[in-house]
């Protein structure tokens, strides 16, 4: 099963839950969904590093313990929605509670390589930001970081989760990059950008391109801690190779306590890609430069 299938399963399950509960407006409240299913939920400020939450089963009762290590309401909601993903998605029982284990600890936040964590992340994103509602609101919210911030307010989701959902559903060429220091933590590209021939996809762990607004921004920790922002432009080939005459917008914002930087790269449209033989070869998935960077859904 591919990463795209994991995303599809998560999206499908979230849609079924929303439909069965007749939820058709934003924001979606995961705490209310847990309560509707008689699932206890409890906040814990300092769970073990990297642990975002736990789903626990005791007898026939279920509980969710979720991390609140960041003050963001969106972060907490995503963690609860992620645990609900484990609860509602078929096939997670055996994987999560193997050998009689009574609880499962999660690592949400789009960084895990585990299939079940990715499915739960996809479920959480789809539950809190349902595709149709999100796309309808996106059309009213402008573009780039401004749109992502407006959508995050509307959905009560974190900037990072909203940015990833935005990139996944956007019909324009958009990429979101999460970075720390001079390194990329993760990146997501919209379909039009992924399908644009001749681009090299940004790799997890790769260095930020020198001279960009993001690279300069990250040189001062205060920018991140104080959630400062800058807006600039960058050439397409600076980030992705490809054509050198295409300009992208580059908005950068520090994510405060999260200690990372979010970059949104976008353009209204892209010109026809330059023809070359190598681009033709790269249509073969098996030789894509970074399969790890394929979209997860």
């Amino acid at each position: 099963m591919t990463r795209r299938d994991d995303g599809f399963n998560g999206e499908l399950q979230a849609h079924e839950v929303l439909t069965s509960l007749k939820i058709a407006a934003l924001p979606v409240n995961p705490f209310a969904i847990a309560e509707q299913r008689d699932i206890l939920h409890q906040e814990k400020p300092g769970l073990a590093p990297g642990v975002s939450g736990c789903l626990m089963k005791v007898g026939d009762a279920f509980g969710i313990l979720y991390s609140s290590c960041f003050a963001s309401e969106g972060f907490k909601r995503f963690n609860v929605a992620h645990e609900l993903g484990h609860y509602f998605t078929p096939g997670h029982i055996d994987a999560l509670f193997a050998n009689g284990q009574q609880f499962h600890q999660s690592e949400s936040g789009f960084t895990s390589d585990d299939k079940y964590e990715r499915e739960a992340d996809a479920f959480a994103a789809s539950l809190l930001m349902p595709k149709l509602l999100f796309k309808a609101e996106s059309a009213k919210c402008g573009e780039g970081l401004d749109a992502i911030e407006a959508l995050a307010d509307l959905c009560v989701t974190s900037l990072t989760a909203t940015a990833i959902r935005f990139a996944n559903l956007c019909d324009d060429p958009v990429a979101v990059v999460c970075s720390k220091g001079d390194r990329v933590q993760f990146a997501f590209m919209s379909k039009p950008l992924r399908e644009y021939r001749g681009l090299t996809w940004i790799r997890k762990g790769s260095g930020l391109p020198g001279g960009t607004a993001t690279a300069n921004f990250n040189k001062d920790d205060d920018n991140i801690r104080k959630a400062k922002r800058v807006r600039s432009t960058a050439r397409l080939d600076t980030w992705f190779d490809g054509r050198s005459d295409v300009e992208l917008n580059e908005s950068v914002i520090g994510l405060g306590d999260y200690g990372r930087t979010l970059t949104v790269l976008w353009a209204d449209s892209l010109p026809d890609p330059e023809e070359d033989e190598q681009s033709e070869e790269e249509d073969d998935e098996s030789i894509l430069p970074s399969q790890r960077w394929r979209q997860r859904w």
């Binding site: 409890q42 007898g59 009762a61 009689g100």
Partner: protein
């Protein structure tokens, strides 16, 4: 999914003298879902498991094959600690507190 789940589901349904469609209706599942679970073609979610256990008045642990009696539940505390190597003492205390709350909440099932 434990290999025993399809068998346990069928056994519990026989115990309650319910047809697959009766059970599906009572558990608010698609009519074909119970058949798929019993043949092992489809794995349930926790939500499905809970709905089935409530409709059948047996425990989820029985359906999962962890206990032999339809109304019994498995041991909790020992397993909780055994699998929590990576968590701090404080985290484990919090988990234990939640586990105790859940244990009180877990409804009694009719024993047959």
């Amino acid at each position: 999914m434990p290999a025993t789940f399809p068998d346990r589901l069928r056994a519990a349904r026989d115990l309650r003298k319910m047809s697959q469609s009766d059970l599906a209706e009572k558990a608010k599942l698609q009519p074909s879902a119970v058949s798929h679970f019993e043949t092992g073609r489809r794995a349930p979610s926790f939500d499905n498991l809970k709905a089935l256990s409530e409709a059948l008045q047996v425990t989820t642990d029985y359906l999962l094959g962890r206990v032999e009696e339809p109304g019994a539940t498995g041991a909790v505390v020992d397993q909780l600690f055994r699998h929590a190597e990576n968590m701090s003492r404080d985290d484990l205390d919090t988990l234990m507190g939640l586990a105790e709350m859940l244990a009180k909440k877990s409804p009694e099932k009719k024993k047959d």
